[in-house]
């Protein structure tokens, strides 16, 4: 691999360089995807634009909405004390990525742009109705996260777009999130299946007002299980309802058989993990009372 290296010192300069180099340029954040793909010969950008000197991209803000800067590392995400309540799944998703060495440098923005269907934090953000905000030469654009990735490694951004942040609304009352992952080992694992769930119950904590279910590694992109979500809306969150939602979600998946697992096992995992994640949310909501 051979390239010219650039270190922009502002967001504007970063966008200018990206616009100039177009498809010949790639942004470098944590490097845990880009540099490995370059070494394997899967990518060979002529220009690498390192972002680590660009200020203002690593803020975590919580006001009427919650904003995560694109360069927020998984390590920082794991350690946000305010996420320990209804946003627990953000921590749960972040803390299972790779090992410490990876989490110390791998960024939320980089993870979103890499668009692996097996990403761990992306499903959580999907359940939070997150939007991705980019800055391009013509100004800012945003997409719902669900519309951002269209295929493995393919997103709506153009080469000149710099992902600056991800934003999602504050969770509603009587809400909880949960994240579960299945793998052949307990760390350093690309998910066989991962599931993120957000559940909002009524004031009596009996009936589902709203549900979001997202699954990883069961489709070309991270998948929202819309039918499973609808199956819960307005219904009491009984064991039967959760079990049913799990089965509906598994039916919405399009898992493949690969070196990691068979499609059949992935479907079984999807149903089970959705059910268990939903049950965990119910417990969390009721325990918070």
């Amino acid at each position: 691999m051979s390239f010219d290296y650039h270190e922009p010192t502002s967001v504007r300069e970063a966008v200018e360089l990206a616009t100039r180099f177009g498809g010949d340029g790639r942004f470098l954040a944590g490097g845990t995807d880009l540099l490995i793909q370059m070494r394997r010969g899967q990518l060979a950008p002529r220009h690498v634009l390192s972002l680590h000197r660009v200020p203002g991209l690593d803020a975590i803000e919580a006001d009427h909405a919650i904003t995560l800067g694109a360069l927020v590392t998984h390590r920082r995400l794991e350690r946000v004390p305010q996420f320990r309540g209804p946003l627990q799944a953000l921590i749960e998703g972040a803390e299972v990525v790779g090992g410490h060495q990876i989490r110390n440098v791998a960024t939320v923005g980089g993870n979103i742009v890499n668009a692996s269907p097996a990403a761990d934090v992306v499903p959580v953000l999907l359940t939070l109705d997150a939007e991705v905000i980019c800055l391009g030469p013509d100004g800012e654009r945003s997409w719902p996260l669900e519309a951002f990735a269209s295929a493995p490694g393919v997103t709506a951004r153009q080469p000149h777009d710099l992902v600056t942040r991800v934003r999602f609304p504050r969770p509603d009352p009587h809400s909880a999130t949960a994240f579960l992952k299945a793998g052949r080992r307990r760390a350093m694992e690309i998910s066989l299946v991962c599931v993120a769930v957000r559940l909002t119950l009524d004031a009596d904590r009996e009936r589902c007002l709203d549900a979001r279910i997202a699954l990883g590694a069961v489709a070309p992109t991270t998948l929202r299980a819309h039918a499973a979500e609808r199956s819960l809306q307005g219904r009491p969150v009984t064991d039967e309802a959760l079990h049913g939602a799990g089965r509906v979600a598994a039916g919405e998946c399009r898992p493949i058989t690969d070196v990691r697992a068979s499609a059949r096992y992935r479907a079984l995992l999807a149903a089970t993990l959705v059910e268990r994640a939903l049950a965990r949310c119910v417990t969390r909501i009721r325990q918070a009372a």
């Binding site: 090992g99 299945a182 052949r184 080992r185 307990r186 760390a187 350093m188 694992e189 690309i190 089965r247 070196v259 990691r260 697992a261 068979s262 059949r264 096992y265 079984l268 995992l269 089970t272």
Partner: protein
């Protein structure tokens, strides 16, 4: 055998630890010489093909490239331990995806990689023999059309794609089955697993002006590599020097030639030092991983649980070259008998050629595969007879003085103690403590490989001791153990011993760090040297002090004669240097052959286990009711080590061997499709991490060997043997599901269960 000992038997810190924790210890992967070039190897993508043309002209002209070599640059020589069927580069026929075709030396690794990409290959693909079944099918194409003309060990039974069939016959199995009340028949399969050492194979080679080559390598067998290089380079072995600076793990994967020959050939061609290192991809596609195996086991028992007969066959996919296959197939037959008293046996081990990498020796070769089958079936039989699996084993295990499967007399048999202690520690009385939770046990035996070891021991002028050994320290702390033996016998401290090792030019011959033999053999060689050295010291001291030798005592670095007359070792060493050439002794050891009944074996390269060890593993685990994921709560090992030379490092072998064994049991496999590896990277070849491995409790049982130093037996390989069977038995206990194919993944367990009602 031993009373209280002073040095040996204590958990002393290993001698090489300071260099390792400070990063100053040099491994072969770290080794460099001035002006060194970087070598890389071009490997085939086809599993089976005719090599029609190879054009290196464009590659040779690229910037930084100093040499490109192919078969045309190498003597037309076939080498190999049991069958001489291997070649450095494919000449006309490619036999596995990953087979070397060419090698490049360049001024940087990037330039070498660019040169590889510029080499033009024209091949004609041939139908590939993808597995043992294909290789044995009637009319199957031959992996080696010239197999009959190869030089091979005369004892081997070779036929077409079978490069050995080893056999043990005892009594009359058919009659045994007729006399049995029940006969059980099962089939088991295992996949290939990689040793997973964290240091890639590496070598640096440099030729001097006299036409001699020095090779720094992380090999486990420097003297074997010296011999192999001599054949390949067509240079007398005295012209080949192999030095081992340091090894980052071997586990058998660094026994045979890896990259040393490429480095030496490139260094000869360029006139410069050349370094070659493997990548993770090369390790997972073209290294000496464990043979995949198929085991068919038929066992006849009486209704009260005595084993009367066993017919067993084990087929190893040995890949494109015989390599270790014939030997592994032999050892397998002893493992198929297990440590059991069985009057009628017909056991066969086959090493079969296929178009895959030539698999090799991995810690207890054949052990996990055979033990998985034997110990799984043992539990199945026990349960079918309504007997406790522990009791069933105790009813049938061999005892002191009884015969092994090839008629050797077994001594120091610590197996019952191991079984009882492991079972007690795991709480065997409560086999199924909760739904989805179960315990399993497995037991086995293993050898302490023979072969000879020599050491030179001298006393330095400051009274410390130099131990010069041809053995390589691969991480087991075997050389620390041997040094403890030496310190014990010389009456000095471990800190007084300095070790020089593994240089074929200046250290004595050693059969190598294999087969759990190093501490055993080097330790005994040290005892021989210590005895000789002590005599030299006392003779000199007697003369020097003017007393009879019988009046002298040697302890703590001092020789005393009573009445205050004394001489330190330092004084005596200086005296000897000045007048007699120094105090130095040569000690050797070779294990005496173990007598066995030659009529019972055929094609057998390994007919008896020397100073056998015995072991029992017990595990307590839970299985997720839906996902099948296994959580290990406790893991216990009781291992008969003969004598614990250094308990801490023996525990280390057990803890590490179990972790590695659990990897094979639960998560590791090299996956093939159409003869190509699908998961040749560490993302998808899943070795256990620190959060995956349970605590392992080690119980060291000591039934002293009659031969080993202070009674020690080999300890390094055994912990790898029983984990797959122990896990399979516990999973069966916990879930009722019996998995007969390794690895026992959550997926296999989950999909083997009946569907949950909606």
């Amino acid at each position: 055998m031993s009373g209280a000992t002073r040095v040996v038997g204590r958990s002393l810190p290993r001698m090489d630890a300071p260099g390792k924790v400070t990063g100053t210890a040099i491994y072969a992967a770290d080794f460099a010489l001035p002006g060194m070039l970087h070598g890389k190897v071009l490997r085939s993508r086809e599993p089976h093909a005719r090599l029609l043309r190879i054009d290196v002209s464009r590659a040779a002209g690229l910037p930084g490239v100093r040499a490109v070599i192919t078969a045309a640059d190498v003597a037309d020589v076939r080498y190999g331990g049991s069958v001489k069927d291997e070649e450095v580069f494919a000449r006309e026929r490619i036999r596995f995806a990953g087979q070397p075709l060419a090698a490049v030396a360049a001024t940087s690794p990037e330039a070498a990689a660019a040169a590889l990409a510029a080499i033009e290959i024209v091949v004609e693909p041939l139908p590939a023999i993808l597995d043992v079944a294909a290789a044995l099918a009637p009319g199957a194409p031959l992996v080696h059309e010239g197999w009959a003309d190869y030089v091979a060990l005369p004892i081997l039974h070779r036929e077409r794609n079978v490069c050995n069939r080893a056999r043990i016959v005892v009594g009359d199995v058919e009659r045994g089955f007729v006399e049995s009340d029940r006969v059980f028949e099962h089939r088991f399969t295992t996949r290939s697993v990689h040793q997973g050492y964290t240091e890639p194979r590496a070598a640096v080679a440099h030729w001097d002006s006299a036409g001699h080559v020095s090779v720094w390598s992380n090999t486990q067998l420097p003297f074997e590599i010296q011999g192999t290089l001599s054949e390949i380079l067509q240079v007398p072995s005295s012209g080949v020097r192999v030095i081992v600076p340091g090894v980052g793990g071997g586990f058998g994967g660094k026994l045979r030639v890896g990259v040393e020959h490429f480095a030496a050939l490139l260094a000869r061609k360029t006139g410069r030092a050349v370094k070659v290192m493997t990548t993770s991809e090369e390790e997972l596609t073209a290294a000496y991983a464990r043979q995949p195996a198929i085991v068919e086991l038929r066992t006849g028992v009486t209704r009260d649980g005595r084993i009367l007969a066993r017919e067993g066959r084990l087929w190893f996919d040995t890949g494109a070259f015989a390599g270790s296959g014939p030997g592994v197939a032999s050892v397998a037959t002893l493992m198929l008998a297990g440590p059991y008293r069985i009057p009628n046996l017909l056991l066969e081990g086959y090493a079969v050629y296929t178009n895959k990498t030539n698999f090799g020796s991995f810690r207890a070769p054949s052990g996990p595969q055979a033990n998985f089958a034997v110990e799984s079936q043992t539990d199945i039989i026990a349960d079918a007879l309504g007997l406790d699996p522990l009791e069933f084993r105790l009813r049938n295990i061999v005892r002191e003085g009884e015969e092994g499967p090839t008629g050797q007399v077994l001594t120091a048999v610590g197996l019952e103690e191991c079984l009882r202690k492991a079972a007690a520690a795991i709480g065997w009385a409560e086999r199924r403590p909760a739904p989805g939770r179960g315990k399993g046990i497995a037991c086995g035996w293993w050898t302490t490989t023979g072969g000879s070891s020599g050491v030179y021991v001298k006393i330095n002028p400051d009274g410390t001791v130099a131990l010069n050994t041809g053995a390589a320290e691969i991480g087991t702390a075997a050389l620390t153990g041997a040094a403890q033996v030496l310190a014990e016998d010389l009456g000095v401290e471990l800190a007084d011993i300095h070790v020089v090792s593994a240089d074929t030019l200046s250290t004595p011959f050693d059969f190598g760090a294999q087969g759990s033999r190093t501490a055993f053999a080097v330790g005994n060689a040290c005892r021989a040297a210590a005895a000789d050295l002590t005599r030299q010291v006392l003779t000199l001291a007697a003369r020097h002090l003017g007393v009879e030798e019988s009046a002298l005592q040697m302890q703590g670095g001092v020789v005393t004669a009573g009445e205050g007359r004394r001489a330190t070792l330092a004084e005596l060493a200086r005296l000897s240097q000045a007048s007699g050439g120094g105090l130095i002794a040569h000690g050797t050891f070779v294990a005496p052959p173990t007598p066995y009944d030659t009529k019972r074996v055929e094609g057998h390269v390994y007919p008896a286990f020397h100073s056998p060890s015995f072991h029992a593993h017990a595990v307590d685990l839970s299985v997720d009711a839906v996902t099948g994921e296994v959580s290990v709560h406790r893991y216990v090992v009781a291992q008969d080590v003969g004598f614990a030379m250094n308990p801490t490092y023996i525990e280390g072998q057990i803890e590490g061997g179990v972790a590695q064994g659990l990897g094979q049991a639960l998560s590791e496999e090299i996956l093939y499709e159409d003869g190509r590896v699908l998961n040749a990277n560490l993302t998808d070849y899943k070795m256990p991490t620190a959060v995956d491995v349970p605590r392992v409790e080690s119980i060291l049982v000591q039934h002293p060997s009659l031969v080993g130093p202070f009674g020690a037996k080999g300890v390094g390989e055994p912990p790898n043997i029983e984990p797959p069977a122990a896990v399979a038995n516990a999973v069966a206990s916990a879930t009722g599901v019996r998995i007969t194919d390794l690895p026992i993944t959550a997926e296999k367990i989950a999909l083997a269960r009946p569907e949950r009602p909606a």
